[in-house]
Symmetry: C2
Subunit: 271 residues, 2 copies
Amino acid sequence: MSADHPFDAAIALSAVGEGVFDGATHAGYANMVGPFGGITASTLLHAAWLHPQRLGEPLALTVNFAGPVVEGPFRVTARALRTNRSTQHWHIELEQGGELAASASAVFGQRRDTWSATEIAPPLHGPGEQVPVKGLSPRVVWPQRYEMQFVKGGWPDFANPQDAPADSDSELWIRDSPPRPLDALALAAICDAFYPRIFRRRQRFTPAGTVTLSTYFHADAALLAAQGTRAVLGRARAQHFGGGYFDQTAEIWGDGGRLLAVSHQLVYFKD
Amino acid sequence: MSADHPFDAAIALSAVGEGVFDGATHAGYANMVGPFGGITASTLLHAAWLHPQRLGEPLALTVNFAGPVVEGPFRVTARALRTNRSTQHWHIELEQGGELAASASAVFGQRRDTWSATEIAPPLHGPGEQVPVKGLSPRVVWPQRYEMQFVKGGWPDFANPQDAPADSDSELWIRDSPPRPLDALALAAICDAFYPRIFRRRQRFTPAGTVTLSTYFHADAALLAAQGTRAVLGRARAQHFGGGYFDQTAEIWGDGGRLLAVSHQLVYFKD
């Protein structure tokens, strides 16, 4: 970890008390309104990660985006709700101006050597191509913090929409820009780096924002470290749209077709 | 809702203060250790549901199973973290003997009439067959609280294991027993009614317990009410096993191939 990297600068927290941390938004990860959700997710995970009582490594993270995070400082509090022999449960809150903007639960724990199997298959490992981001507000800076090479389902061009596809699948090679060694913090953000699936399905700009995001980490720290700065292969797709909400699900694959994480989210949209 | 139904008796809560409720485990939903996780999930959701400040209907629920719930009374506290124009975020805790046993986040909100589409296909609508539960401890009572007609992947018979299948898929028709009109509370429990996928993959008893469970509700109250007491079609499968944990994902389909909910969980296992 290096404070020189924009990712590490963005998730940086200063301890100001037992489980209380101060941080601030980073202009390099700005989204339409407030910061990229993935960087907020990593920041909340980081608070538990930095806590002196933290045991083990991240197994699961759920982040609830309760309200807009605005540009400027914020406070994060992390509290261990329960520590067991092999797992530890955390509750984390991010406040700005005394109002809660995001909350999270995180499970840390020890992994053991067990039988293993993967039932889902990795996407086709074709080469990707860089697809320019078009038609989004110039305020949306965060895609510049990633190298994204799309195999399928690249950023739609809202000015020149394609025929709306029957599925919302995207597959892409992705890594931090500039490259940064992979760890669970970076992976937590990458899990949210898929643009809203409704952009692809409808081929037009639609206001949308993640309501809640859950990530399960299948890779341990050693496997993530072994991935180094090489790009991972991500796949995302929606399952159902309706009533002003949709869910999308993502997989992140590492070298040798190893499943590093799966992630699910419920997204608000307006049409 | 009728307090005469075992489901309603099991999730019953008495308000003892602002957002503070007393409840107790129900012998009819006993699992190997403590109650069936689905009934705990519904009980936590019920606390927010009953809160006088609650607005709208459930959109998402994440439950973290932090420690065993033991037979007897418990206390549930529900706190609205933030209320917006269209969504409301809750934090809920279940304690026994002063120690946290489970926590949850819930998002309630208003649905609006929007464009809708479902990208995943429902399972084959074949008839199901009742498959007896064998080889589990007689303490495991909760499966008797459901009518389960398996189309595929019924309860394994640990004494007469099949060849271990290459996938962990189960598909089944399921409803409360005795039948009870469907609502989000019942649906939250049904989302956890799929036995641990490792039972199917390995065809042998394996100690396993849900660590964290996230459900996204795609059906509104009217659609759930229209389903009435008719069985829903559920599908569950695992994605990855390893390091002492696996994740499994579930879909619940109603009449006419309407997707009612999707649910994901991370499960601890020991081998």
